[in-house]
Symmetry: D2
Subunit: 340 residues, 4 copies
Amino acid sequence: MNTRPQVVPVPADPERYAYSFGGGSPVVTVEPGSVLELFTEDCFGGRVRGPADLPSQVCAFPYLNPVTGPVAIAGAEPGDALAVHFIDIAPARDWGVSSTFPHFGALTATHTTAMLHPALEERVWVYDLDTKAGTCRFEASGGGFTVDLPLDPMHGTVGVAPAAGERLMSISPGVHGGNMDTPELRAGTTVWFGVNVEGAMLALGDGHARQGEGEVCGTAVETAMNTVVAVDLVKGAAPAVPRLESDEFLLSTGHARPLEDAFRISQHDLVRWTADLAGLDPLDAYQLVSQAGLAPAANVCDSQYTMVAKLPKRVLGGARAYDGVHDRLRELGAEYLRGR
Amino acid sequence: MNTRPQVVPVPADPERYAYSFGGGSPVVTVEPGSVLELFTEDCFGGRVRGPADLPSQVCAFPYLNPVTGPVAIAGAEPGDALAVHFIDIAPARDWGVSSTFPHFGALTATHTTAMLHPALEERVWVYDLDTKAGTCRFEASGGGFTVDLPLDPMHGTVGVAPAAGERLMSISPGVHGGNMDTPELRAGTTVWFGVNVEGAMLALGDGHARQGEGEVCGTAVETAMNTVVAVDLVKGAAPAVPRLESDEFLLSTGHARPLEDAFRISQHDLVRWTADLAGLDPLDAYQLVSQAGLAPAANVCDSQYTMVAKLPKRVLGGARAYDGVHDRLRELGAEYLRGR
Amino acid sequence: MNTRPQVVPVPADPERYAYSFGGGSPVVTVEPGSVLELFTEDCFGGRVRGPADLPSQVCAFPYLNPVTGPVAIAGAEPGDALAVHFIDIAPARDWGVSSTFPHFGALTATHTTAMLHPALEERVWVYDLDTKAGTCRFEASGGGFTVDLPLDPMHGTVGVAPAAGERLMSISPGVHGGNMDTPELRAGTTVWFGVNVEGAMLALGDGHARQGEGEVCGTAVETAMNTVVAVDLVKGAAPAVPRLESDEFLLSTGHARPLEDAFRISQHDLVRWTADLAGLDPLDAYQLVSQAGLAPAANVCDSQYTMVAKLPKRVLGGARAYDGVHDRLRELGAEYLRGR
Amino acid sequence: MNTRPQVVPVPADPERYAYSFGGGSPVVTVEPGSVLELFTEDCFGGRVRGPADLPSQVCAFPYLNPVTGPVAIAGAEPGDALAVHFIDIAPARDWGVSSTFPHFGALTATHTTAMLHPALEERVWVYDLDTKAGTCRFEASGGGFTVDLPLDPMHGTVGVAPAAGERLMSISPGVHGGNMDTPELRAGTTVWFGVNVEGAMLALGDGHARQGEGEVCGTAVETAMNTVVAVDLVKGAAPAVPRLESDEFLLSTGHARPLEDAFRISQHDLVRWTADLAGLDPLDAYQLVSQAGLAPAANVCDSQYTMVAKLPKRVLGGARAYDGVHDRLRELGAEYLRGR
């Protein structure tokens, strides 16, 4: 890591956006340790620009949630752990957009929670993004109420090709990652995936200027992003589910329905991770996580719900996950940002 | 509030602990605006004091989770909102205890999530509590690992008599409150209940020196507490579910299974609360909560799971919930603490 | 059983209907082996008699789902099994009624599956009951479509006082029975409860002229019933959940949310019952039930959902549950009917 | 249909089994109205032949649940309804096999309902199949208990290529069909799928000599099958979910978690189907299904749970689904069987 990292601009041709994880050929192949510069379109493909652009009319299923990629990581093999460190996530526009969508969201009947209700009203909200001020502005559609919320850019969707030759829509989350929609996935964070196919086939998209926990109405403040990530590999260290690591926290994710199963998966993985790092037996780790852990919702609207289990790293003292890769990528990112 | 508040010591005779919400006669009747000093036993009735005191052996169902009360609030009638403000929650012992319990917890088969597995090992952990240092010490049962966690005292259980003449075990959460087990319920917080019977019949217990979100293993760092609360009434303002208010946040709770229904209830109530306070239509409030809200798990182990929906008050600008009762009780608490 | 059974008419004074399980004093005390003749009102208290009688207007919560009883069974003690054999269930009127109810039912947002939808239309359907022809007639509210469905009278609600001093609304199902709403509970069937309090405190109501599996819209063809049951005790043989027995089937019930937990509970109990009766180890019983069992939904609308697990008795050869009590009560019922 | 149907033997080369729905090229293309003769391997690929052949050892993920196909249906286009009528399902061997599988099944911790329990014992049961007697023999692994269960052959898995370019493992059920595991799918039944891609791409496998409702332990009496189906198309008539039709019943399926969502989907579709066929408004259809419908579980173990909603056709009088295609294929099947 003493040498300047290789910086690779990833092509983001609208003709080449992917709409699934799995299948397709890589847009580029990079070495572990590389820094990737990417542009990602918003989840609506940029087609929702104002209150009159109803997503159900201007978007055409399944052309939702375009992802940039896949990027092949040279040397990645099934069973490896792929680290994707987010160096920077910057809105590429000065506006973002959110909406309700017919029969989608947590407080509406859906095609899965099937009911006899007609759909709620489909409505679009446009947010002004002010990167200088670090705000995104909510304005009530009826007018008369405005509030500046903190800008907190993140990616809703990042993942790798699934196992068993599956090919899954980019709007689905799962053990391959995908549309996890957790606000924890901001710059400064590393996400870990188990590699399922040669090259891993990383793709990402669905930038959010900010998102509440649970993504209750089904969409965040959606916007295009200029994003920089660094990637690395740890051979044979595939986690069972996507894991995140920040300077302060270890985070495990669970993707399932019902929501308690997403909770169970995330906590179960965090218990195992804690046991591994601290040399505890499973019951001791269970106890420690029970008292010291956090458990925020990520999404409660997608085809699988996502819960996050979160432990402050200081609870584990000097334990270093994955031999310190997060710290090294953090440094690499700092170096990149200094050199920009 | 210019006059000194009436301070009422609430009797906490072990013979008079309640094990349910609903039924029973009040241990004391107090005026709205009173400050109550209470002692609460831990959820094990103080019978688990070391690794050899297995809860399933030393505790006798249904004599679990004793609550102090009920306290009748003079003038409380069905349809009113009862405010209970936590002025102080102080561990009454220098130790706390946690345990696994056969077929109870989030990562084990239970009587509800019924499976063919034998129970996980029942094990007890004793924590040293150091109120000066503000820590509680976890020690792995196998030895060799110790960590000081921040002390963060709270009550797992607080509630009123249920509606419809029901009488529910104190270990159950619900719209009457009860065993909600959210770490948000710390000193400085006001909790709001809908009153169902004359006098409301407030009771509380289940002190936790600290608790992780989700209370994964089924128990927190359980300890006896010396607790001070102030109570007040808002006529005819009963919330649909228990609500919390701190200096920074509005919080709605949902108690249900599956966990997504607990999430839905909490978010639905927060959307309505937001709409009321900010004068928004429901869809605008839905949108605002979707982008600005937090959604931590409270418990994923009790007979109903509990989720919390949480909105920073600054998002709503100058809006004041319940005509500022929280602020007034906060002041009353400060006055009490100064005078102690 | 050679002597004529004692026949006890149970008082059914509208002033004395119960609306909960638990609490209240018995309307009568009977000996094990007695035959009870009861009248039960419909779940609406008889107040819904035509399309203009909207339940939300003519009924007053919590005065819903009146039950007749409680009946104390002499000698019943906690830990015993109470057998309630349904000898006859006969509609007491030549009409029944069904309805949607605001925010109640499986295909609508509810207070638990909370959503932003307004309630579905509240609508009442009146059915003509023809006990001679054995039919109940559905007529579309819009007219133009009529069909005679088979009369299949059953009780939605039957149970005993809950454990731990709880008092639960009669519209809730649980391990004490209550509002289980399974169409399996027809004449010729014995239902088994674990006794929780002295006298058991049996109560029943909520007669249905017929009901589909799942009670999708939340109500069945509700009608008053003249019902005859025989009761008996097996000391110390309390089942973990309500069990049913017919001439052909053993049936276990599970009451929980989410629905898979209701399924798990019912199957788990049937596996244990099968293991006990056939002398199998749990895995062999699990295998046998997996291939030979049935699993119909009972209700997917009440505060707990109910699933039924069902095994043909012939699969177990000569095994006799509870020492043949069902057969004896069946005979007793036949004798009663002959003598009527 | 006056002419002899075209009978097409479908190649079933072990080298060409498919393990997913979606992707791959057709093994054969047939005209609507054709009769297909297929051999299907069991879900273990025939590798589990006795108690010593533990599935987790002799099978290699993802090579589980091989399906025969895909078969392209000439002229099938997205939006069409594909009818697959089961003329005959005959065990191809005189034995079948069932097993527990580590962390799979309804009464065990799984990777989704993640818990700290070690896996239940993995055990294999071999069943003797006697097609003459129409029985399959269960024998307890410990010996000492034997029972002949009725043979009731069915296919656990049948489906088409999914929408949106997805490629899903053959062990997953969904709106494309797949591993639905309902015992209703026996000879004499027609199953309807919405077509998502040109040619529909029908595949099937996972024969069961019989299966209990819910497939509690995760596997049925698994065996290879010689199966005959007839296929047909109705242009532009794609159902939202797989539907079944027998001489007596209309059946809708729902595939989701939690189980109540699978229930909701199936009931919602049956309500719509009923409304369409009987010319009822949705609330009248909801009412009718609520009183006349059945709701058996299909599987409560797969990646999506499956519920079935079932209405006797006589309830709808003379209504004919899909213009009588089931009746015509039934006749075609009878003709085929006579001519064999």
